[in-house]
């Protein structure tokens, strides 16, 4: 008889759930994971990781078609789309089995099935019922249950993914063929990355956004340059755009898009719907408990506690921002709090966000506009990559870095980057924000030459009137 009683049970094996289990194991707590589908969750299997594998392929395709300036010449460039997709799947599979290995090494049992809260034992422990279609149900108990079931794509009426003409991210990750014409609805990180991937692979892409600008959570200047760059790459970008009733035929879809009262019909091979996500709150046994659900997300306090003592929710299930690293951080905080350690609530202005389109976008903290709304008197610094030696040498001069400082205290309120490799560099500013550095320490920091990261330094100096190379 295998163990059925634990200190902690984690429902969901994504970047929230499996990290919670690993941390609990490190702290000497007995813990098990309940996962119905795949360890690593959406992130590893259908999100962050496989899209990066695809985007790498599209970047190579872009470079192959832009060899001239570097002195190369190549004819008859082609790719095997099935292999591109297969590589992406292989990367996911490798990582997912890596998670399984980590959990095994940490002696964390994984129960295959769906976990559902099932009341409380006489001793006050939480009961969890694990079911899977044909298998016999398993009854587990634990003092603490962490719900980490994640989220899935939001479905808008009229543009329900059908697996054929209308895709969600899932179908978009495993396409049977390259679409000739593609329309992407929604220009958040997911929509923008797919638009960028397919455009760089050669598809005719239209990106449609209902908000006045693409990447609406980013700084306005970032959105503006991203749109300009996409358009230069041949992508059509429509903002303030409303989608009408889709007309599907055997082979294509006609999408009416209304902008400023004028409607244009786009007939495309495929439509990708990327209009946000909804939390997986169903079948968790939340009904009849004190756990509150607000617009498909479980309501928690700053320490991930739900309305029921001993039940916690982390990651996408518990609300924005929908980021794997936020889920993992909450996982650690939640488990450490259970273990009696002193923890602090997450400050979302210290969570970086990255979008791996070309050019890449990365940011942390307040945008200039939000800083002003919050009442800060700001100092803003900007530095264009065209003035950076390494960017120039690489032929990656598109983009800029922007810093937003509180004039009063010198606090780095936010940093916004667009350009090559910025997703790898944003952590420098995140460390500065988390370590509560001011402009003085950043200005005193010696950045290595020649790197694109020198632009981060210059963007700090620029905020105080002293960029050296621009």
């Amino acid at each position: 008889m295998s163990q059925t009683d634990f200190d902690i049970l984690v429902v969901g094996g994504g970047p929230g759930g499996y990290v919670a289990a690993l941390r609990a194991s490190q702290l000497g707590l007995s813990v098990a994971v309940v996962e119905a589908q795949h360890l690593g969750g959406i992130c590893l299997n259908w999100g962050c990781i496989p899209t990066k594998a695809l985007l790498r392929a599209s970047e190579i395709n872009h470079l192959l078609h832009d060899l001239g300036p570097y002195g190369f010449k190549a004819d008859n460039i082609s790719f095997d789309f099935a292999k591109v997709v297969a590589r992406s799947r292989a990367v996911s599979k490798q990582l997912s089995s890596g998670v399984a290995h980590l959990l095994k090494k940490a002696k964390v049992p994984v129960f295959d099935g769906f976990g559902k809260l099932d009341g409380v034992t006489k001793e006050g422990k939480r009961k969890l019922l694990v079911t899977k279609e044909k298998a016999a149900p398993v009854n587990l108990t634990a003092k603490h249950v962490i719900l980490a079931t994640g989220a899935r794509a939001r479905v808008l009426p009229g543009i329900e993914p059908d697996g054929k003409l209308i895709w969600s991210y899932r179908e978009a990750l495993v396409p049977d063929a390259m679409p000739g014409k593609l329309l992407v609805i929604g220009s958040g990180a997911i929509g923008t990355e797919f638009a960028s991937f397919y455009r760089n692979m050669g598809a005719d892409v239209t990106l449609v956004e209902v908000a006045p600008r693409i990447l609406p959570v980013e700084d306005e200047e970032i959105s503006a340059l991203a749109q300009k760059a996409f358009e230069k790459q041949g992508m059509k970008v429509l903002t303030n755009a409303k989608i009408g009733t889709l007309k599907k035929s055997e082979k294509d879809v006609t999408v009416p898009v209304e902008v400023n009262g004028k409607t244009e019909n786009f007939t495309v091979d495929r439509v990708i719907s990327a209009v946000g996500i909804v939390g997986n709150v169903e079948n968790l046994g939340l009904e009849g408990t004190k756990i509150k659900v607000d617009r498909t997300h479980v309501v928690t306090d700053a320490f991930c506690r739900t309305g029921e003592p001993g039940v916690y929710a982390i990651g996408d299930l518990a609300g924005a921002p929908w980021l794997a690293h936020k889920a993992s951080h909450e996982a650690v905080m939640c488990v450490e709090a259970i273990a009696g350690k002193t923890v602090h609530p997450i400050d979302i202005t210290k969570i970086p966000g990255c979008t791996y389109c070309r050019p890449q976008v990365a940011s942390v903290g307040y945008t200039e506009a939000r800083a002003k709304e919050a009442g800060y008197k700001v100092r803003v610094g900007k530095f264009p990559l065209i003035a950076n030696g390494k960017a120039l040498a690489m032929g990656e001069t598109e983009g800029f870095i922007k810093t937003v400082f509180d004039e009063k205290t010198g606090e780095l309120l936010g940093a916004h980057m667009i350009g090559a490799e910025v997703t790898e560099m944003i952590q420098g500013y995140v460390i500065a924000r988390t370590g509560e550095l001011t402009e003085a320490e950043l200005a005193e920091t010696i950045f290595p030459h020649p790197t694109i990261s020198e632009s981060m330094h210059e963007a700090v100096l620029a905020a105080y009137g002293g960029a050296l190379h621009f």
Binding site: K341, T342, H344, K408, T409, G410, E411, G435, E436, L437, T438, A440, E441
Partner: protein
């Protein structure tokens, strides 16, 4: 390897001292040269510097402990990750109870108190002790400066007790300490001023008296006392002294008042007491501290068992103590302790004044100048030498009626001074 930190000697004659303050707390990282603690006498405060580096594993002598023998272990330094040796023992002594025992008896067995290892309690590491080195984020420092907050007063909640922005923002606005405020332009007089850095003694006086005046509920009782009889007796007694030689003496009025106070304290013993949280400590001996002004401040040498000593003994002893006090040559035990204080400003001609209690004592007698003035005797007008004395009393120990009884006893001794020679 655990290293014992020993009680240092302030002077060649010192055998024990008071551990005034710890500037590092258990778990703090210590570098060579860091100031660990302050060892104090009334004359001076000496800083105990770390010779080795490591982590302050255990404090063996708590703050405020008096009579710590020189070379007694006061703390244990350990290396990072090293456990504090089980044998690390704190010499047991109740700091709040002035004891007659001079030596500190080491405890026989080590109390099995689990010493939290440094790694286990990172968040509780105090920032308050960081008088010298404040562990705070740059932003926290910037905001603190802007808001005029003293980081040393703020407890850090960041990693390893680091003071971060939220701590500064949560801290209620505490003004900068007086020493920092002294540099504020508002202090400077229009005609210019000179800044005199505090001597150690000045710092001790400032801290001790602020503490005393702000923590002890003082109240004051004054009485006028006729001195003529005492002065007449003094003249008679002084007349009996040999002209020269070791047996010669010259009693002062003050010597006689010290003795009078001792006699009064014997009669009303509740004034010869100390307040502690748990109990009122009644002292068997009457040890009278005499306030002596010295160039740098003041010091209170003690006439021990003044009730049992003759006027001549008191006089000779006081002369010697005052002389050595002014030369800075008192031993710690000669000015530490005492059960009652006398402050005499008669030589300055003051009419009356009230003094601040010298803790842990319960009372201090302020003696003003004796002056000839008209008094009514029976229904006749007469001339008498009258002085006003004011007793400052710790109300936690001594109630008003007791203070009045004591003054009444003191007056009767002074006005009928033959008691002093019996």
């Amino acid at each position: 390897m655990a290293i014992e930190v020993l009680m240092p000697a302030l002077s060649p004659t010192m055998t024990e001292g008071t551990l005034a303050r710890w500037l590092k707390k258990e778990g703090d990282t210590v570098s060579s040269g860091d100031v660990l603690a302050e060892i104090e006498t009334d004359k001076a405060t000496m800083e105990v510097e770390a010779v080795d580096e490591g982590i302050l594993g255990k404090i063996l002598i708590s703050e405020g402990t008096q009579g710590v023998p020189v070379n007694a272990p006061i703390a244990i330094l350990v290396e990072e990750g090293e456990a504090v040796p089980e044998t690390a023992t704190a010499p047991q002594k109740d700091a709040s109870t002035p004891s007659k025992t001079d030596a500190v008896a080491p405890a026989q067995t080590a109390p099995k108190v689990a010493t939290p290892s440094v790694q286990k309690s990172p968040v509780t590491s105090p920032a308050a002790s960081a008088a010298l080195k404040v562990f705070a984020s740059p932003l926290a420092k910037r905001i603190a400066k802007e808001k005029g907050l003293d980081l040393a007063q703020i407890k850090g909640t960041g990693p390893n007790g680091r003071i971060v922005r939220r701590d500064v923002e949560n801290a209620s606005a505490k003004p900068l300490s007086a020493s920092s405020a002294a540099t504020a332009p508002a202090i400077a007089a229009a005609g210019g001023s000179t800044s005199v850095p505090h001597s150690t003694m000045r710092k001790v006086i400032a801290r001790r008296l602020s503490e005393a005046k702000s923590t002890i509920p003082h109240f004051y009782v004054s009485v006028d006392i006729e001195l003529d009889a005492l002065m007449a007796l003094r003249a008679q007694l002084n007349a009996t002294s040999p002209e020269e030689g070791p047996d010669s003496f010259k009693l002062s009025v003050n010597d006689m008042l010290v003795k009078a106070a001792a006699v009064a304290l014997k009669r009303i013993p509740t004034v010869n007491a100390s307040f502690t949280e748990d109990a009122m400590i009644l002292h068997d001996d009457v040890d009278i501290s005499i306030a002596v002004s010295i160039p740098d401040g003041l010091i209170t040498p003690i006439v021990r068992q003044a009730d049992k000593k003759s006027l001549k003994q008191i006089s000779q002893e006081t002369k010697d103590l005052v002389k050595r006090a002014r030369a800075g040559k008192l031993k710690p035990e000669e000015f530490q302790g005492g059960t009652f204080s006398i402050s005499n400003m008669g030589m300055y001609g003051v009419k009356d004044f009230s003094a601040i209690i010298n803790p842990p004592q319960a009372a201090i007698l302020a003696i003003a100048a004796g002056r000839k003035q008209p008094v009514v005797k029976g229904s006749e007008l007469a001339i008498a030498t009258v002085m006003t004395v004011t007793l400052s009393v710790d109300h936690r120990v001594v109630d008003g009626s007791v203070a009045a009884e004591w003054l009444s006893a003191f007056r009767s001794v002074v006005e009928s001074p033959l008691t002093l020679v019996i």
